[in-house]
């Protein structure tokens, strides 16, 4: 490995990237832009869900309950209807996502402590909003029933409190409101920083397509030097994102950064090395850009999204998937990003993940360099 050779390749790569300004801008800003789009789209607070009310009871109690339920920002009363057919019609047209159906005996059942006669109908095609409506309605119903029952309970000499005899004390560390955005944004960093890997795969395939790879190979530059030289400019691009993302995450989404930034920076460099090595493997095996694109999507982009434990806990996956997840750099890096952002842990906790990243990077680069010769020869 010669530093001079490496530097020459890096300079050539940087020239390539800078020549095409548009592509350069896109490569530079795609990770940040993707992070923001996804963080926003995946964590919109659900509110203003349109609902209909079908009140068969028509008593003052049922009216008060319906009014209570649609107060506030969560549910919007879209219509008061007279029969189930109308509910179905509104659901079919997508005008409402849920309906509250109050049965005829609502008031009398409540007063005689027989229970609450109500039904919730939801649109199962979008359970996010439907499920939200159910939780909201049930919550309001419990409140409402609780208040109504309070008097009767007192007459029976039973305190309301005794209905929940166990005192459950919940303490949430690192993310007190359990807001998905707080941990998804650090998690998603591991996905968006994988984007430069696709670029590396593409540039390798590009050289293959244009036949310039043979020219480079005719120079005294070694295979590993060539691959590293291809990777380093993209590692730099990635590191610029590593600096920008925590700042923007804090400003736009109020994500805390509790750990050490230099530690995060260097561990990110290791991750970029590992994920870009994956990109070079794709580039080495594939000869055209569309094909390189297709394969990187299959082995880098989608698994980086679904198998790294950002959305679905790795512990819940079957054995085989868990094994596969261990070979994805994103799995280890997601632990690092979350650890540095939220609990703010240091190298004493994170070193095994750093070691894994180095191991994967070296292994992938070695495989790529090994097959590089065979493929060219």
């Amino acid at each position: 490995m010669s530093w001079r050779h490496l530097r020459a390749i890096i300079r050539k790569e940087i020239n390539h990237i800078m020549r095409d300004r548009m592509t350069f801008t896109l490569v530079m800003f795609t990770p940040v832009a993707l992070l923001f789009l996804m963080a926003y789209a995946l964590t919109v607070d659900i509110k203003h869900v349109p609902v209909a009310v079908l009140d068969y009871d028509r008593s003052s109690t049922s009216r008060a309950f319906a009014q209570r339920t649609t107060e506030g920002e969560d549910l919007d009363l879209y219509a008061v209807v007279d029969c189930l057919d109308e509910v179905e019609n509104l659901l079919m047209h997508g005008e409402i996502k849920a309906a509250l159906v109050i049965n005829p005996a609502f008031e009398s059942d409540l007063q005689s402590l027989r229970g609450v006669s109500l039904q919730v109908v939801i649109d199962g095609t979008e359970p996010e909003s439907g499920g939200f409506a159910v939780e909201h309605i049930v919550g309001r119903a419990e409140e409402f029933v609780g208040e109504l029952l309070a008097d009767q309970m007192r007459a029976l000499d039973v305190s309301l409190e005794s209905l929940q005899p166990i005192d459950l004390r919940v303490r949430t560390l690192y993310n007190p409101g359990l807001k998905p955005r707080i941990d998804l944004v650090p998690g998603l960093i591991s996905m968006v920083l994988g984007m430069p890997a696709l670029s590396v795969a593409l540039t390798l395939a590009h050289e293959r397509e244009h036949g310039t790879l043979e020219q480079v190979m005719a120079t005294p530059v070694g295979r590993a030097e060539l691959l590293l030289g291809k990777m380093i400019p993209y590692i730099i691009v990635g590191l610029v994102n590593v600096i920008v993302i925590p700042i923007l995450a804090r400003l736009a989404f109020h994500i805390p950064f509790n750990g050490s930034f230099p530690l995060f920076f260097w561990l990110s460099a290791l991750f970029l090395f590992a994920i870009l090595s994956m990109g070079t493997i794709v580039g080495v095996f594939i000869h055209t850009q569309p094909a390189a694109l297709a394969l990187s999507f299959l082995v880098i982009f989608f698994p980086g999204f679904f198998l790294t434990g950002i959305f679905f806990p790795i512990a819940s996956m079957p054995e085989m998937m868990r094994m596969e997840a261990m070979f994805l750099p994103g799995t280890h890096y997601a632990v690092i990003t979350r650890g540095v952002f939220l609990p703010g842990v240091g190298l004493d906790v994170l070193w095994p993940y750093g070691v894994m990243l180095v191991g994967l990077g070296v292994a992938f680069t070695a495989v790529a360099a090994l097959f590089f010769r065979k493929k060219l020869g």
Partner: protein, 374 residues
Amino acid sequence: MFKRVWSLVIKEFIHLIKDWWMPAFMLFGGTLELLLVGWATSRPITNLPLMVLDQDQSAASRAVVVALENTGTFALEAEAPDMPTIQDAMERGEINAAVVIPPDFDNELASPKGKPTLAILLNGAESIPATAALRAVQGVISDMGEGITLRRLGLSPGAFSGFDPSLRVWFNETLSEALYTTPAELGLMLEFTVLLFAALSFARERELGTLEQLLVMPFSSLEIIIGKAIPAVLVGFCDFVIMLSMIHFAFHVPIRGSLALLLVVAFGYLLVELGKGMVISVTSRTQHQAFMLVMMIGMVDFMFTGYAAPVESMPEVIQLVANVVPAYHWLTILRGILLKGAGLDVLWPNILALAALGLVIGTFSLRYVRRALD
């Protein structure tokens, strides 16, 4: 004209066969991914590592632990000797939750007016498993609490059962996750596949220098466009049919409405996305650039598919923008036909909007691409 277009189509197919990775990815990559994603997202969250600090060591406290294990949500780690162990494990991200049972749990539970306490610690650094853990613990506690209340009041079990409102789910009676996630995933895969295919078409020829050759041949620009469009639409349509059969047979997503209508709309939608892809293609100088643009546009459209959050909950401005996003209308139509059995009478506004958008995007892209080629 027909003969010349035909020869162009043949040329495109020769490209496809020579570079077989791309069409293979288009046809089966989406399907494979859909299978993986659909499978991954339709599983319950289980096996979350949980630590228990049982300071009571009584029959009652053990019953709590057994009840927690029986939910299936947790996998019990070794019992923790003290709080620092729990804190440490949580900091390392080794556990998602911990339960602390205080020493007087059993006594409080047995006394008629006692109020036993139970503490739970959640690892907020992973909010999705933490939320699942909280739900599971709350379920166990409310079941136990109900039992205690009934016993203390001397009531029969079932006295409170009437207080749960009943739930009816329309269009997805079993609340199967696959039913609402897979159609959106299908829509997204289809969009990415066609956009990518169309976007690479001219960008690739330009980068390789073969576009000039094509242009000096006696083809009109319209013929070249049609020649490029036919294979893209054909492959995209086959892709759609394969993915649709997959979600129907593997994930039991019903097709309650008219299949013919769905296929016609799918074909129209493909043409709209094709138009977008072609504009990207002629604006891009390299395939790399075309690809990056597709990523950005595809991810913006992703916001409007209702996959993660309903569009109704987004700010007004975004709701207005949604109306000019073809993917938004397409997903509404797709869900409507598959799950709701909706027909033209219900879906006409969306179909009309899609057609109007198609007309605008189609005209623009045709003129733009022709001008760029000439």
